[in-house]
């Protein structure tokens, strides 16, 4: 999954690079540049343009350092966003340290994609009373919602619901099962 995310990012960057690099002059490509994977694009007027070059025809070495680190960061963010389930300790709604970076990645993505909606589903493990667990699941979903908003998502993109203990991820009992059921899931709409 990580690879395809990266591949996606590269594809995005490539097309960006292509349009950015396009000019009416024919540019030559250096070997080893990203452009070596590029297919010639036919533009109107019939001239063929190869991506990867800059305006005055000098084919600089692929992407700048900044562009490269941007690409890497975007790949990392996309990989983080593959994680959509967050776990909690018994009877708490505290977001764990390891969840924070992932949620920030999601929040940024939502900020950049205002049309994207997410449903935040809160759950609890089976122990204790059902109604209290409904409220606990809601508290967990609300905690995640607040965190996303603070980090850039807007309220209108987010919907919360709690299922309490009614929809466990894993059936059965025991600490390892319960730990997997105390969770919030992000469901992208």
């Amino acid at each position: 999954m990580k690879l395809s995310a990266q591949a996606k990012v590269f594809a995005v960057l490539l097309s960006v690079g292509l349009f950015a690099g396009c000019s009416s002059t024919g540019d030559t490509m250096e070997d080893g540049a990203y452009g070596s994977d590029v297919e010639p694009i036919d533009q109107q007027g019939g001239s063929t343009v190869y991506g990867g070059g800059d305006q005055d025809g000098i084919s600089s070495s692929a992407l700048t350092d900044e562009e490269r680190s941007n690409a890497q960061r975007q790949a990392e963010q996309a990989a983080l966003r593959d994680i959509t389930v967050f776990y909690f300790d018994f009877d708490t709604a505290e977001i764990k340290q390891e969840a924070r970076d992932v949620l920030i990645a999601h929040a940024r993505y939502l900020a950049n994609n205002p049309g994207q909606k997410v449903r935040i589903e809160g759950h609890a493990d089976e122990r204790g009373s059902k109604e209290y667990n409904l409220a606990l699941g809601e508290r967990r979903a609300n905690a995640v919602q607040r965190f996303l908003i603070v980090n850039g998502a807007s309220r209108g993109q987010l919907e919360t619901i709690s299922y309490g203990e009614e929809k466990p991820a894993v059936m059965g009992s025991g600490e390892s099962v319960w730990a997997q059921n105390r969770r919030v899931e992000l469901v992208f709409q």
Partner: protein, 445 residues
């Protein structure tokens, strides 16, 4: 030897027992289907201080249907309370059905305190039961009646007899003619099927009232036993419905943003306590059922839920985690400051006060296990009632003598009845799936 014919001056009382089953049959909204997977009673523990009682198989005449005998039903009812131990018919030295056939010395030898004898006569589809209860030591009759019902309602007739026998011995009206509501869940091919069901107190004559692919929770009986409120996720989020038993008519009464949960009827049936989170977090509200107006009863950033009126109907118990974890709180009236009731462990939730104002029952964590405990409302003393590990949803019988709750057995949830004082437990396991969220119905009439 001439036979003396004794006339027994039975009291003039004659009851026609119609039973719930008749009302249930008139469902138009939802076809009431009788479930194959009936709950079964199983004894899980023996009784120590239980009263030894003999229910002698009744004499029969006419077309009495085969199947569970009236005497077996009465026997099971009494034993389920945890207060009685019954003598198996194989051990009886004789099978009297009338006073003049009872040799008290025999019953004393068997260590019995009470003996019930009687007869069933069927005529033209109607069964009349004649039953007499004797105190073995004083040799006095303490109960003697006739009662009748249509043949189809033989079980109701048996439960009626149990009620009378229980009251004659303990002074407390029996709760054997009441109903249970509960939720079952079974999964086939990854699909979940939730059902709201109503059955007799022994799990028999179960009828499905609602079926849904989405969760159903928190069934709550109206005080007159004619309606059930519950939470349903059928619209995709939790909402509260009222469901009329006789007609099957359903009304959605709460569908606010966020939670709509934990419905609890007022004693006059005119309002409903509920947990809503529309104003930011889980709080308790009282909804007038006529006007649908809401009155907010709690105001705290903590979770406040699972409200239940006290026996007088003036104060209410609820669960709140305002002190860090869930505990039971009490408000003397709707405007009073909440007062914490439980202190013995870090998790106490889902309070259910009895109708006598003596105790409140709740889910209680001890060590790593979740059991049921009760607090004496006068003394504040807490007693843990169960020894099982994963208990939920306690519900007290309307006479305050029995408690039903859901417990995990293996992978499934089953219903268990115990004496309200704790101790002997009777499991009602379903043959498949999960049974949960029992609600004990009111005494009818």
């Amino acid at each position: 030897m001439t036979q003396r014919i004794l006339t027994m001056p039975l009291p003039q009382k004659s009851h026609t027992v119609t039973g719930f089953a008749l009302m249930a049959a008139i469902l138009t909204f939802l076809a009431a289907t009788t479930v194959h997977a009936e709950l079964l009673i199983r004894v899980t523990e023996g009784a120590d201080s239980a009263i030894p009682v003999s229910i002698v198989p009744f004499a029969e005449s006419g077309a009495i249907p085969p199947g569970d005998k009236v005497s077996s039903i009465v026997r099971d009812d009494l034993v389920m309370t945890g207060e009685f131990r019954s003598l198996a018919p194989e051990k009886m030295l004789s099978l009297p059905s009338r006073r003049d056939e009872v040799f008290f010395r025999d019953w004393r030898m068997l260590g019995q305190r009470y003996v019930l004898v009687g007869g069933l006569t069927e005529k033209a589809g109607q069964v009349q039961a004649r039953y007499e209860l004797f105190d073995v030591n004083t040799e006095k009759r303490i109960l003697g009646e006739t009662a009748s019902a249509p043949v189809a309602n033989l079980r109701s007739l048996a439960h009626h007899i149990s009620d009378k026998v229980y009251e004659a011995i303990t002074g407390v009206p029996g709760a054997f003619s009441t109903k249970l509501a509960y939720i079952t869940l079974d999964k086939h091919n990854g699909k979940s099927r939730y059902r709201l069901q109503v059955s007799d107190v022994d799990g028999k004559r179960a009828q499905i009232r609602l079926e849904s692919p989405e969760p159903l929770l928190s069934p709550a009986w109206s005080p007159d036993g004619k309606k059930l409120a519950y939470v349903s996720f059928e619209t995709g989020k939790p909402a509260i419905y009222i469901h009329e038993m006789a007609s099957g008519k359903r009304t959605k009464i709460a569908d606010f943003p966020g939670l709509n949960s934990a419905p609890a009827w007022s004693h006059d049936g005119q309002s409903m306590l509920m947990t809503l989170s529309k104003d930011g977090n889980a709080e308790i509200y009282q909804m007038d059922l006529q006007s649908r107006q809401l009155k907010r009863l709690t105001n705290h950033w903590a979770i406040d839920t699972e409200a239940s009126w006290d026996s007088a109907g003036k104060g209410l118990f609820f669960t709140s985690d305002r002190s860090g974890g869930p505990q039971i709180y009490y408000k003397e009236n709707v405007n009073a400051e909440p007062r914490r009731i439980t202190f013995g462990s870090r998790y106490n939730a889902r309070p259910r006060p009895d109708s006598n104002g003596k105790f409140v029952y709740y889910v209680h964590q001890r060590d790593r296990a979740f059991g049921i405990a009760r607090t004496n409302l006068k003394t504040g003393e807490e007693t843990v009632l169960t020894r099982t590990e994963s208990d939920e949803s306690p519900s007290v019988s309307p006479n305050g003598r029995m408690l039903i709750y859901a417990t995990k057995q293996g992978d499934s949830s089953v219903l268990t009845v115990i004496s309200a004082d704790g101790g002997d437990a009777y499991s009602l396991p379903a043959s498949e799936g999960d049974v949960r969220e029992p609600a004990w119905g009111p005494l009818t009439r």
